[in-house]
């Protein structure tokens, strides 16, 4: 691994925390409230449903690609 030439006294930008984007944070707060309202705070149940949906989406995408490949004679 090559030697880095990182200076011993870097300035502040890589040091600071993340800058919160108000719009994104408000969206996330709403998402968290939605989980709490619909699942009573049961994150496992929420993510089980979400992952299930996502896996299904991926499979349907794969099937679509397979269909395209078939129709293209591959």
């Amino acid at each position: 691994m090559e030697k880095s030439t990182r200076r011993p006294q870097p300035s502040s930008s890589l040091r600071s925390g993340r800058t919160l984007n108000n719009q994104v944070e408000a969206d996330l707060d709403r998402a968290v409230e939605r989980v709490y309202r619909l699942y009573g705070g049961d994150l496992s149940a929420f993510f089980r449903a979400a992952v299930h949906d996502q896996v299904q989406l991926r499979q349907s995408g794969k099937e679509n690609r397979d269909d395209c490949a078939l129709s293209a004679g591959r």
Partner: protein, 393 residues
């Protein structure tokens, strides 16, 4: 239903590429593109990374440019960072600086301490000063990494909380703390290298734990930290005295231990940690974090107790206080982990390691991993037995 949210999705049509050595020529090359993207809109910018690192000053300049505001003081463009192959050294710092950080599955991520390449002969005085500067710089870099990753790390912790009870039951260890449960559960998913890293972090955290329990508790007990009329130097002085007492007690069985032979450096470390601990735990970021995730971390009994309180303000205060008790130890462990990442030369992490350690948000191709994107994008169908007006709320 999954509704894609561009705030969590890499977008090659609004992207810059960090490929190869990070240096001033790279900064020169990227500057027009970054400015062009920011002028076109304030939508997220994706930063694709495949780099062995390079000059930290150039990496910082790129990051400063990427997070710049404009003449109307608009918020910085949201940054989505994506490692496609390697994110080593300062490229790893860039990756973790993303508001949302993604990794391709076979990526390698590597953090290390600050290094200095010298072209001139070194005197004792210069060597000592350099050692001190490098150490301070490492401490600061570790704290910076902790601040950048605390949201991800706490999210990981909260996501694991439902599994703590099962772990305690199956291993017959009912007194396992939430933090220990969390570390044990993530360790099951880590590579050998990452587990070695966690071991080092645990050792360091053990010392933090004693220090925070000892010196900080004593400072709070004497109300040292609660007197607003005091000058900062008075508060600092009181904390330093508590640390000195703590270290003397901690080394009572070591006759040769002294402040002159290493103890003073430890005092410096302790002070740095306590200072960060106090300021972080009182920061708005930390309060927001406790507010958002607190309800998921609390036990049903704790929630019931809070709900029994007479008014909203009291409930809010109690919720924050209870949540703080869960999240502060986790935060202290994260700091220990970030320090461990700055030590040694063996901190090579896989994409999955980086995910479980909260250094990135998502690994492409692993839909089963819980992510902030999924939280934002998944809109569940309301349960069938929910009244229509609630379901529509």
């Amino acid at each position: 239903m999954i509704v894609p949210n561009p705030n969590f999705r890499p977008n090659p049509s609004r992207a810059v590429y960090i490929q190869g050595l990070i240096d001033d020529p790279m900064l020169d090359r990227l500057t027009p593109t970054i400015i062009g993207l920011q002028s076109a809109s304030r939508d997220p910018i994706t930063v694709y990374i495949d780099s062995r690192g390079g000059q930290v000053t150039s990496a910082e300049a790129i990051l400063r440019l990427l997070t710049a505001s404009n003449q109307d003081s608009a918020s910085p463009c949201r940054l989505i960072t994506v490692v496609t192959g390697r994110a080593l050294s300062s490229a790893a710092d860039l990756l973790s600086s993303g508001d949302y950080a993604v990794a391709y599955p076979e990526s390698t991520i590597f953090y290390h301490g600050v290094r200095q390449t010298l072209a001139t002969p070194v005197t004792v005085e210069f060597g000592s000063a350099l050692t001190e500067r490098l150490k301070i710089s490492n401490d600061q870099s570790a704290m910076a990494l902790a601040r950048k990753t605390e949201w991800r790390f706490m999210f990981r912790f909260v996501m694991m909380t439902p599994e703590f009870t099962t772990l305690r039951q199956t291993t017959n260890r009912p007194s396992l703390t939430p933090l220990d449960s969390f570390i044990e559960l993530i360790s099951q998913n880590l590579s050998w290298y990452a587990n070695e890293l966690v071991k080092r972090a645990r050792e360091r955290h053990g010392r933090y734990h004693k220090l925070l329990d000892g010196a900080l508790a004593a400072a709070y007990k004497n109300k040292v930290l609660l007197k607003p009329q005091q000058r900062p130097a008075q508060v600092e002085s009181a904390i330093i005295k508590k640390i000195i007492d703590f270290e003397v007690r901690a080394h009572k069985n070591e006759p040769d231990w002294s402040f002159r032979t290493g103890g003073l450096a430890r005092l410096n470390d302790d002070y740095f940690l306590l200072n960060e601990y106090i300021s972080s735990s009182q920061s708005d970021h930390f309060k927001k974090l406790c507010k958002r995730w607190g309800p998921f971390a609390l036990t049903p009994q704790e929630t019931e107790g809070i709900m029994a309180l007479p008014d909203d303000a009291a409930r809010e205060e109690a919720r924050l206080e209870k949540a703080r008790r869960y999240f502060q130890p986790v935060w202290a462990f994260l700091v220990a982990l970030c320090h461990a990442l700055q030590e040694g030369e063996e901190n090579y992490l896989t994409a999955l390691d980086a995910y479980w350690l909260g250094l990135i948000d998502e690994v492409i191709g692993f839909p089963e991993l819980k992510s902030m994107r999924l939280l934002s994008e998944f809109h569940p169908d309301p349960p069938n037995d929910m009244p229509p007006e609630t379901a529509a709320a």
